[in-house]
Symmetry: C2
Subunit: 457 residues, 2 copies
């Protein structure tokens, strides 16, 4: 019997215990946003730490941050010549409101058919426990062929506000060959999924100033460049007629998609029809030479997130406003950077702003892009694990949003992430009746066992 | 001695009485916006009616409206073959706040040097009294060579809300050959001014709808036409690069300016420098082939009065908004109409709105344009009166704003207006320390005497 088969057998023999441990974990109402659950947050961190201690890690610590603590675990017993896998997770959960829509008590898990219902089952206590149980199976059968680190935070559901500082401060401690992040889920129970790229963000505010005060549009209209009009002209010019962003140099550093990547994007079930149904728009929009999944995952955008000028109440007021504001953000893809994008926006405005107005550009928020080479050892280890357990190649996708921890691990500790997981779109995460599909979860634990062995191959 | 000289002599002999009557009139705190002054409003209407009765009118009535009453007076004794002059005015005044900035009690007039200070002296009790005193001088010396009507309302400072209905209901009663409206003032004490045109208004709200709810800009950005972006593209396209409005047919009915009109506009002291100083903008804007005074007075515009979409608070929110709104208004000039402009906007949107969004256009407020032929008898009668008294041709201008009564008299009763008056830009109307320049006021009364005789010539 191979090593991996021993560990997989262990998993199969222990499913009932895993289920009861999951019930125990989700029974702790670790709602990070709520002060009244502060003790529960500590209990949840302690519960995770106890689980890690049961794996005979070299070190398990509950480490402080500016907010809820991180649970850190480390076992370097496999030696310097084999890879180190960092496993990321979070032990906090979303609030349960509106509680009246739950069919069971949200922290008292109920199994119905193939699913277990409780807050945190899918997002992501079930995923954290899956990775712990996979390691447990490996350790209890053959011993781990790779070194292991754990970073289980308590603030993901409230924006991971203190995690960046923590990662920056403990960058050496967190160094690893790959981070396994099972918080991303899969597209369907029969479609295991690996997310290998995330878009970045450059969020700006453009302010256009005209007259020193609001004017009467009758007495001045026709002589003054209305700042709302000037803002509109500037923002309209940020796209050409084909929907391409016109900021100078905007696309220069955009990585071309490989043939394999485009083939992978084409397999994703996020079709035109999907986007039409999800959004209710009468027709899609965007770069015509890319399919929607590529436009969201692998192409940069420029969006207007907010507009404000003049009179916006009910009825009419004939004001010629003194100023106008647009919130504008660019979703960025490798190898764009928010800093360069901000400079490109400034250059665009310097070249195009008319002399009849004054303007100001503020930088409000930046997030770097993240990408993991789909041919890297970590991604391939996970892909092969899925092939073994699901009998098919996983889907490869890039996410359109940004996930702080992935960017920060890459930026501060040089660790790339494999984003995956065993949550499903229908799991009601962040909603009442959150649930986890148990057959998928059990397969997930097995696939993580394979991933660990594959990493040492 | 000519008839007019007799009347002018009468005016000169009675200046002190006029001044004390003005003090009496402004002592009534007829603040139309304030409930606590309701009795004062009635007293002011009664005061005006008593003045008209003293002129031996055929009829003087205080007539109800939906709000404060109108004082109506009529004397048709000059016969059917001579013109009828309708004199418009208002007996209500602005509030006095901030009262601490007044140097005297606002309703206790004080003469300092050439000026009399009190609320309503310039806007427009002084103007109403000037017209009454001019008629009094004519009646008390030679008798009036023209028929006379009076419409003195009590709601001008609160938007003349009920005046349109009143004029429509009493259109026959108000019929006249010309309306003298002395509420428009003059540009400077040595620059008598006639306003012969007003711009109209077509005020709209454009709503653009995209996805059925706000979306995450990361998860959907690139596939969905952001409605704020779509709105911006549509509104940006409403002007061409030269600042011309692109709505189909927008300029078709715009009256060309005559050589005389352009020469008159060129005389107005509202230069580029004036607009720069008044507004604080770094540079002016508008149709390059027209001077600023023409652009404001005689050219139509399209202004953005308000913009709202998505997230407009402090900081950043990566929302792809579900809808966006612009308040847009066109200032119109003869012979444009708000109804046609609205249809032109609809046609523009039908031709240009992309299939990726839905839109809706609301009509919020309409006002017609108004123009009086500068060569008409009424305007010429007033112009010659100014020439006689001031020794120079008056300035001829068109106002950029809209004045309801002028439009409604034209629309409902077929009466064109001559807008003039003896208030000055430095009179602090609507502000503390409102005042009236007495030498100009006395000359104004004389010029109205001349106007009456000129009308009969």
């Amino acid at each position: 019997m191979t090593d991996v088969q021993k560990a997989v057998d262990f998993v199969r023999a222990n499913r009932e215990r895993y289920l009861s441990e999951l019930k125990e974990f989700v029974a702790i109402p670790s709602v990070s946003t709520s002060d009244e659950h502060k003790d529960d947050m500590a209990r949840a961190a302690e519960w995770v730490a106890a689980q890690l201690r049961s794996l005979n890690m070299d070190k398990v610590e509950i480490m402080p941050t500016g907010g809820h603590p991180c649970v850190y675990g480390e076992w370097m017993g496999a030696g310097k010549d084999v890879p180190t896998v960092l496993i990321y997770g979070h032990y906090d959960v979303q609030p349960v409101d509106p509680i009246e829509l739950w069919e069971n008590q949200p922290f008292d898990a109920v199994v119905k058919g193939d699913n277990i219902y409780a807050r945190g089952t899918s997002d992501m206590k079930g995923q954290v426990l899956a990775s712990i149980k996979a390691v447990e199976a490996v350790i209890n059968t053959t011993g781990s062929p790779v070194n292991l680190k754990w970073l289980i935070e308590g603030e993901e559901e409230i924006g991971s506000e203190h995690l960046g500082d923590f990662i920056q401060k403990h960058a050496d401690m967190l160094k690893a060959d790959i981070c396994l992040n099972p918080d991303a889920g899969m597209i369907a129970a029969d479609l295991p999924t690996i997310t290998y790229g995330l878009r970045g963000l450059c969020y700006m505010e453009l302010r256009v100033y005209g007259p020193t005060k609001d004017l009467h549009s009758g007495l001045f209209g026709g002589t003054i460049h209305n700042p709302a009009q000037a803002l509109i002209e500037l923002v309209a010019g940020m796209h050409d007629k084909k929907g391409k962003v016109t900021l100078p140099g905007f696309y220069d550093k955009v990585r071309k998609l490989s043939k394999q990547e485009r083939a992978d994007f084409a397999l994703l079930p996020v079709t035109e029809q999907f986007f039409l149904e999800q959004t209710g728009v009468p027709a899609l929009w965007g770069e015509p030479t890319f399919i929607p999944a590529e436009r969201v995952g692998a192409r940069p955008t420029l969006e207007v997130n907010g507009l404000l000028s003049g009179f916006t109440g009910q009825g009419s007021k004939t004001v010629l406003p003194s100023h106008a504001m647009a919130k504008i953000s660019c979703r960025l893809v490798p190898d764009q950077t928010p800093e360069e994008t901000f400079e490109q926006m400034k250059a665009y405005l310097e070249a195009n702003a008319p002399k009849s107005i004054r303007w100001e550009l503020l930088s409000l928020h930046n997030a770097g892009t993240a990408i993991t080479d789909p041919n890297s050892a970590g991604v391939q280890a996970m892909a092969h694990a899925f092939e073994t357990v699901w009998g098919k190649r996983p889907l490869f996708k890039r996410e359109g949003g940004s996930i702080g921890v992935v960017v920060q691990l890459q930026q501060y500790a040089g660790v790339e992430s494999v984003l995956t997981g065993f949550g499903l779109p229908e799991d009601n995460v962040h909603s009442p009746n959150e649930k986890l599909h148990l057959p998928t979860w059990y397969k997930g634990i097995e696939s993580l066992v394979h991933f660990i062995y594959n990493m040492s191959a």
